[in-house]
Amino acid sequence: METVLSIKGLTKNFGRLCAVNNLNLEVKGGQVFGMLGPNGSGKTTTLGMLMGVINQTSGEYSWFGRQPDNEVRKKIGAVLEHPIFYPYLSGQKNLELNAMIKQCPVENIPNVLELVELADRRDDKYKTYSLGMKQRLAIASALLNEPTVLILDEPTNGLDPMGIAEIRELIKKIAANGKTIILASHLLDEVQKVCTHFAVLKKGNMIHTGPVNEVSRGAETVEVNAEVENLSDVLLKFSGTESINPENGFFQVTLREDFRGKDLNKFLFDQGIIANHLVTKKKSLEKMFLEILSETN
């Protein structure tokens, strides 16, 4: 995989505040890269530096192995923080203006408007749009130049559940086309659903990076229930049981390494017990995120 983005020692100080501290990162082509972190952890500042709107204090980065300049930015689609458009221009005219800046054909505009389902509102002024429509227009604008890299910063900020689901579907659709996506978010559930890799930032420091599917490796938790009186005693007998925790009328069984949910199922069956509820729970990114954050405290 070719390296799309390479960051070396990137640092940004705002006066005495260190917003981003010595960040090193590589993003390869085709990855959907999630940047996680609490509010104020330096996600947007980092993306701002990568897009040339914030001058870094020190360090460097390169896009596609090239020194960054404005020509490179024309090949990247980016939405940082809020959608930004001229309020007195219509959606269509805003996109025409973007096309002029990115020097890409205006023929792309109907396609992207169709994709984000804004075609019927194209001639209304931007200021009349709802927040969800503004977000969608921003995504349309980011896709306008058919970029190979897409940067989205909190794309579902302030959206209702339906809007969030729509944007998530959209991201999946775009990722399926082989585009590299960098997604900054503090909605972990979202990142786990769409990302392949992730990094965790805290107070400007990167404290973890790795593939998302690694998160679900390791200890598994199985939620069990059966119509047996001494179920917890039986479960304790299972050699793969690490601990048992009754919760919401179910038993949460944390398994030892190398044991899977099906092993527990087989064990119960051998004991003559048929479970009426058995769910294998993967470790959530949220849990891992909180673990990582608390470890560094």
Partner: protein, 267 residues
């Protein structure tokens, strides 16, 4: 280069305020310059002695070649309207934060600034052409006998007028980039002549040689007050090269300061 101008014009031409301000500018210039004779007639009718001591038809306000300098000098007062337009255009980019998105989308900071400078050049040029046309028409209407030798003399005031407008717009652009808020910028722009006058009054006794180097002073000096000629029969009927150099220097400096500020700031 044309591409950058098109980008900035695309932002402006759908902006209603732009048309209102430009419309006001061209209307006020058009009406006020074209109605000078009417004003003199009004003076003559209102004040008895005015008409008897002075034959208004002998004041060659609109006669070639006087008309060139007279109208250029008078139109200079209205440049503040164009300056306000420039301020609105740049401070909008900060208010809406579109300057940030423009850079994200692929303009370099210099390209962004240059698109604004190009618009300033275009506004200045439009103003020059407008005043030239008004002067040409009124000149032909009011000059009793057209002497073709006089029709196209004294035209060097038009390049000087162009420089006057452009330097002022560069100043407005720089103020907007440094202050970023429209109201405050417009107030400062309106006060700039007065503030400079105060400073000049205070240093007049110590460094009188410094006076011509002040920015507003230098652009005013480009086009001298023409009416002395009717009182004293003498007039500076040429463009002072020193004030051209000083005004040009300021225009370059203003835009350079804008560039430095843009380059260094986080958007």
């Amino acid at each position: 280069m044309l591409h950058l101008l098109q980008i900035d014009l695309k932002k402006l031409t759908s902006y209603r305020t732009f048309w209102i301000v430009c419309g006001l500018y061209f209307l006020t210039i058009g009406f006020s310059t074209a109605s000078g004779m009417e004003f003199l007639k009004w003076l003559a009718n209102t004040f008895d002695k005015f008409g008897s001591e002075l034959n208004i038809n002998r004041i060659p306000l609109y006669h070639f070649p006087d008309v060139w300098l007279n109208l250029v000098w008078w139109s200079g007062f209205f440049k503040v309207l164009l300056g306000i337009m420039t301020v609105i255009s740049i401070t909008n980019e900060y208010t809406y934060r579109t300057i940030r998105q423009n850079v994200i989308d692929g303009l370099s900071r210099w390209e962004f600034l240059f698109s604004k400078i190009l618009t300033n050049l275009l506004l200045s040029l439009t103003s020059v052409i407008l005043v030239f046309l008004i002067a040409l028409v009124t000149g032909f209407i009011y000059t009793p006998e057209i002497n073709w030798n006089y029709v196209f003399t004294d035209l060097e005031f038009y390049p000087a007028y162009f420089l006057e407008i452009f330097t002022f717009l560069s100043f407005a652009l720089m103020l907007g980039i440094f202050i970023q808020r429209s109201g405050l910028t417009i107030i400062l722009l309106l006060l700039s002549y007065m503030l400079e006058a105060i400073i000049k009054a205070n240093i007049d006794d110590f460094f009188p040689w410094l006076i011509p180097f002040f920015p507003m002073e230098s652009i005013s000096a480009l086009v001298p007050l023409p009416f002395y000629r009717y009182a004293f029969q003498e007039i500076q009927d040429y463009v002072d090269p020193l004030s051209v150099i000083i005004a040009l220097g300021w225009a370059i400096l203003f835009n350079y300061f804008s560039f430095l500020k843009l380059k260094r700031s986080d958007l």
